[in-house]
Every structure is written in C-alpha cells, then in structure tokens.
Amino acid sequence: MVETQFSPYRKQPRVAVVKFASCDGCQLSILNLEDDLLALGAAIDIAYFPEASSNMQEGPYDIAFVEGSITCPEDLPRILELRQQTTTLITIGACATSGGIQALRNWSDIEAFKQAVYPNPEYIQSLSTSTAISEHVSVDYELWGCPIDKRQLLRVLTDLLQGVSPRIPTHNVCIDCKRQGHVCVIVSQGLPCLGPVTRTGCGAICPSMGRDCYGCFGPAEHVSVQPPGVPPNMTSLAQQFHQHLQLIPVEMVRRFRGINGSVQSFSKESDAWESK
C-alpha cells in the first residue's frame, strides 16, 4: 500500500519519469510494480512518463526519476533543464547512476566504434563517453541496480510521500547472501563473485541462483576506503581472485569493467590490472 497521510506535498506530487540512453528496463520495473501500480497512480500525479502515457505535461516536477546515461550532445541541455524543473531528482539504475554498460565505450575509440557499426558514421551524433547523471547535475538520491529493485523504488517514493528522508542501504550483497543462508559460490564453486564489494539491493539474486554476482548494483560503500596501510576491500578481493582462483590479468580487467565499470572504485581496479 502507498501511505500518504503525512505527505509534505499539498496536492499529489507531480512526478516525471525521464529517459536517456538505456534499455528501458528500469522504467519497466516501475510498471512491474503490478500490485501497487494503481495505488501509486492514485497517490501521485504522473505528469510525464512517455513510455506509459501520451499525456506529457511540462514541468515543474516535484520528483523526477531519471533512467539512462548521458551519451550524446543533445542530452546535455535536456538534463540541465530537467534539473531546473525538478525539486527531487532521483537516478534509477546503473545507466543513470554510473554510466551503465554503455560506459564500456569510455575505454574505446568512439570514432572506431561508429565506423565499425554504421556505414555512414557522420550521421551519428555521439559523445565519446557515457556518463552518470551526477557528473552533470546534482542528484538527490541514487537507486543502483541493473535494473533497480522495484521495492526499493517504492520504498523511496513512499518515504518521500510521508515526508521522511529516504535511506538507501549501502552494505554489501555478501551480508544478504549469508543472512539467506546460501552456499558461498567463491568457496564452493571457485567463482569470482563480486558480492563482497557490491552494494545491497537485489536480495543476493545471483548466489541464490547458484552463480557469481557481477556487480550490477555498483560498489558497496567503504569498499574503496581503508585506514592507511590497509588495502581497500576491492583490491584485496582482486588479489584473492588472482592468487586463489587463478584469474589472469585480462580476466581481472573484464571482471571489474562490467555494468558499473566506470565507477571509480571499480575502474581503479580494472585500470590497475590492465597495466599489469
């Protein structure tokens, strides 16, 4: 249920769902809130959500959910304008929060990509990088995941509707995995699971399906900071993969350069292994 009795908004808050470069999976996760969607539709005013409604209203918006990363020149004025129009801006998903999988281009020559892919590359306007929304405007809350966890989104929205500051947990997948009693896939299968350094949110889906986490919720907090002299968790885990699971440097690069490969704590690791 969507409680609104303590809502700080005088009327139904005006909500926008806006897309940049993405697969639409995070927006779909909103529509996948099947049980709560109608209640949600009654609690908020969906002012702009082109994927779901032809009624597209201009801003200002109380809340905007932003999916997708910034990848082409036209995106820049759009995101600046949206920020000006929006009170609470929330990124949804890896694309918007870290640049997403398409940020793999950041390590490549984009002109070569275009030429490889399009017969007439001059028609294509594209930036050489895919960047997170927060590199361009200030962001109020970030929901990680590829895709986001729809319950997390509902939670944030319900908090806002109640006038509570949303608190998004930041511990690692490993803790959830242990709590649920799954068999550790590093220990039992020798898989290079990123659960120890990946942010919670999914409910430890991969280990529950008998496989390694590939970091789709981005880095957990504190995995890249440690007291002086102690290597950060990320680096220690990488060492373990290398020494005990015999991953060779190119495999290490691929492991840390994935869906959230552009986030600094991951990119530092992949870049370090690339130069080995």
Binding site: K19, F20, A21, S22, C23, D24, G25, C26, L28, S29, N32, E34, D35, L37, L38, G41, I46, F49, P50, E51, A52, S53, S54, N55, M56, T71, E74, D75, G100, I101, Q102, R105, S108, I110, A112, F113, K114, A116, V117, Y118, P119, N120, Y123, I124, S126, S130, C146, P147, C202, I205, C206, S208, M209, G210, R211, Y214, C216, E251, R254, I259
Partner: protein
C-alpha cells in the same frame, strides 16, 4: 492545410508515447501527395556490438540482456543458441523445455504490457493504462495480474524478471525443483482463464486501418509454435536456414535514424506476432485454436491494429504451453551440460516477442568475441511501418495535422516497436573494421 492543396504540409510527432524507446515521425505532403515518411529514431546508439568484442563468451548472456529491458530473454536465447552452435553443445530435452518456459514468461509479460497498458487505451481514447484503470479498474487489474504471471515465471527460472541471471551457455546456473514449478500452477491456470477473457475482449475492438499486403517472416519448427528454434519461412514461399539470413536480409543506414533499416530482396517485410500467427497457427494448442476460432477472424490478419488480437492469442498459447511444460517437468540431474569452448562462427535466430531476432558471433581461440552482429525485430519492421503509413496517409489527409499525427502515432504503436532495441545494432562486418 486541408482545402489548400498547393501547400507543403509537414506532419510531425516529436516524441512518440507508449512505445519502448524514443522515436519521432516526420511526414511531408506536397500538393496533396505524400512525399516522404520518416520514422525517426533518435534513441542514442549504445554500441553493443562494438564493445562485445574482446569480452568472454561466458559474459555474453549478461551483456546482451541489457540491450532491451522488455525482452532480455530473447537476447539471451539467441546468443546462447548461436554460441552453442559453435561449440557443438547438445541441449538435453529438460533444459530445452525450461528455456521454452522462460520464453513463454517473456512473451506473456511483454505482450500483456502492450495489450493492456500501451495499445488498448487507444481504442477507448485514454492517454494511458492508468487512466483506463480509473474507469475500468477491474479490467486493468486483470491485465496487471496476467502480466505478473509472466514475470513470476521469469523470476522463478531466472532470479528476476528484468535481466534474469541464470541463463548460460550449456543450460542454466540452476534449475527449479518440480515443487517450485508446481507452486505456480494455480496462478497460471487463473492466468490462462484471464487470457481467454482478454482474447474475447480485444476481439470486439474496432479495427479500422486499411488492409495491407506484405511479406511475413517467421520461424517455423517441425512441430511446435516457434520460439527458440526453427527455420525462416515467409508467406511468399521462402524457406531459409538462419545461416542464410544475411544473404537475403540487408541492412542499410538512413540519415534520420540511429537504427538500421532492413529489407528482404529489396522490399519491406514484417516479423512478429502477425507473421507468426499467419504462418504457424496450425501449431497452436487445441484450447488456443478453439478460443481463436470463436472470434471468427480470418487469417492472415491484414491490419496492423489487429496485432492486439495476435498478441492475445499468443498469450493464451504461452500460458497453455507453460502449463503443459510444467506438468511434464522432471528436474534434470544437472542444470547445464559441459561446454568446450573453441574458435568458430555461429548464428541463431529465435522469436522475440516482437519477432525474429538474429545473432551471429565469431569466437577466438581464447573464448573472446571477435565479432558480433545482432539484428533485432524492430529494425526489420521499421521499413514496413513506413510503407504502411505511406499507404494509409492519403486516406487521412483530409484531417487536421494534429488528428493525422495522432492516427499515425496510434498506428505505429499498434506495431509494438521497440526502439531501444532497434538502435543498438548496426552493421558490423569484419571487412569494415580493418
């Protein structure tokens, strides 16, 4: 403007609503004649084919899923089949069935989303499924629960419904127990009844767009309604293997779009539910055939708006098929078979909810991808949609620009284009790289 035929008139839709991804339409009319129809796709390219190069084959299912949040299973399926073709992997029947079951889940969630939330509102003049729910709450609730049934199937097999995690070359990382699957049976039975009602409901809609005659393309297998396997057939008598796809289907780039346009022997063609149903209706389940026969619609459907009927038929079939698979399921001893990675090239085509999805991969000795080519259904259909609009527009020009634009938008939407998919692929051949 109407009544002033010596003008050049431009009809524009700047941002199409209720489609996946971002696209626009430009129509130019001169002296009362339609000059140009451009379905403009401005969804930015994400260059999947390029950055797949150098990734390990085992990462491919997780990567290609991200091409489309609505049909990730389709991408995973075409990819693993193409790679398994290289490695000579034989998939045992139980795993084959589970893959089909997973695909059923995706057809259900994708089709039901389109039926209830995207296309049906057009028949009643609502701006969205949520607006429709204000007047017809029970109907929309039925649709959402039906969609959820599809998502539950994917979540059980894949861990979550968007970008499921269990699919791998050789099978799955884990398979469900018999009990886990049987626990879904009651809900799927409810959903099958709801699918019957859905088909009956949409069959009463008014389909008013002009009839069109076009080439239909779909897979066809020896016995089952096509999902994961089959050869490529058309209503014009063609019969091809997936390995011949690129000899017959050509992609070209147009300046106004980030998606490539595909043609078959120089002409537009259509893939997806209308084509599948026209070419494979004899393989539907007895229940689906019976309920469909009651609608008394002749096949093939010649109106794009009737896609909603075709999708409803397929939802009913997918539920019936899912129940059949679950009933006969025996948990395999191992969730996957061993795979020996080697160099080579493999192709596969499977039936995504929106039609034929073609993949070709070349793999290096070390198991990394040398080359990837992906042709999604929407880039195949784009030219067909433009041709269809060109046929239909003369009958609309007496209307105002705004009304014409809205009829066009509705017509495009009835094709269920997935624009996010369409843009991430592109021509990518080895000759061009060098």
């Amino acid at each position: 403007m109407p009544g002033n035929p010596n003008n050049t008139r431009t009809i524009k839709i700047d941002m199409m609503a209720r489609v996946e991804g971002e696209g626009a339409l430009n129509v130019t009319v001169k002296d009362g004649q339609v000059q140009d129809v451009q379905l403009r796709i401005f969804e930015p390219p994400r260059f999947f084919e390029a950055f797949l190069q150098g990734r390990h084959v085992n990462e491919v299912p997780d990567i290609v899923a991200r091409i489309c949040g609505i049909c990730p299973v389709a991408y995973q399926m075409s990819a693993v089949h193409a790679l398994e073709a290289i490695f000579g992997v034989e998939i045992p029947p139980a795993i084959r069935d589970l893959r089909r079951l997973l695909y059923c889940g995706e057809w259900i969630e994708s089709h039901v989303l389109h039926i209830y939330m995207l296309q049906a509102p057009d028949f009643f003049g609502f701006a969205s499924g949520l607006d429709m729910a204000r007047v017809h709450p029970d109907l929309v609730k039925q649709g959402l629960r039906l969609k959820k049934a599809g998502n539950q199937l994917i979540s059980l097999l894949g861990g979550r419904s968007v970008h499921p995690v269990s699919v791998k070359i050789g099978g799955f990382s884990q398979v469900p127990t018999k009990n886990q699957l049987h626990a879904l049976t009651d809900e799927l039975r409810w959903a099958r009844d709801a699918a019957v009602k859905t088909l009956q409901w949409v069959s009463g809609f008014a389909f008013e767009d002009p009839e069109q005659d076009c080439t239909f393309l779909s897979l066809r297998g020896p016995s089952e309604y096509p999902m994961n396997t089959g050869s490529l057939i058309t209503n014009k008598g063609h019969h091809l293997n997936a390995s011949e796809f690129e000899d017959h289907f050509h992609e070209e780039q147009v300046p106004y779009s980030t998606a490539l346009h595909c043609s078959f022997q120089g002409k537009s063609y259509l893939t997806g539910p209308l084509a599948r149903l026209a070419l494979n209706h004899d393989q539907l389940s007895p229940l689906t055939k019976e309920i469909f026969a009651e609608t008394e619609f002749p096949l093939p459907f010649k109106r794009a708006s009737m896609g909603i009927v075709a999708r409803s038929v397929e939802v009913l079939y997918a539920l019936d098929e899912a129940l059949r698979i679950i009933e006969g399921y025996e948990q395999p001893a191992s969730p996957s078979v061993p795979v020996i990675i080697k160099a080579g090239t493999g192709v596969a085509a499977t039936e995504a909810p929106r039609g034929v999805l073609y993949h070709r991969f070349s793999v290096n000795e070390d198991g990394t991808i040398q080359l990837a080519k992906i042709v999604p259904p929407t880039s195949q259909n784009q030219r067909r949609i433009e041709d269809d609009l060109r046929n239909m527009l003369p009958g609309l020009l007496h209307l105002s620009d705004e009304e014409t634009a809205s009829k066009c938008e509705r017509h495009i939407r009835s094709y269920d284009p997935c624009i996010s998919c369409a843009t991430h692929f592109l021509k990518f051949t080895r000759e061009e790289v060098s």
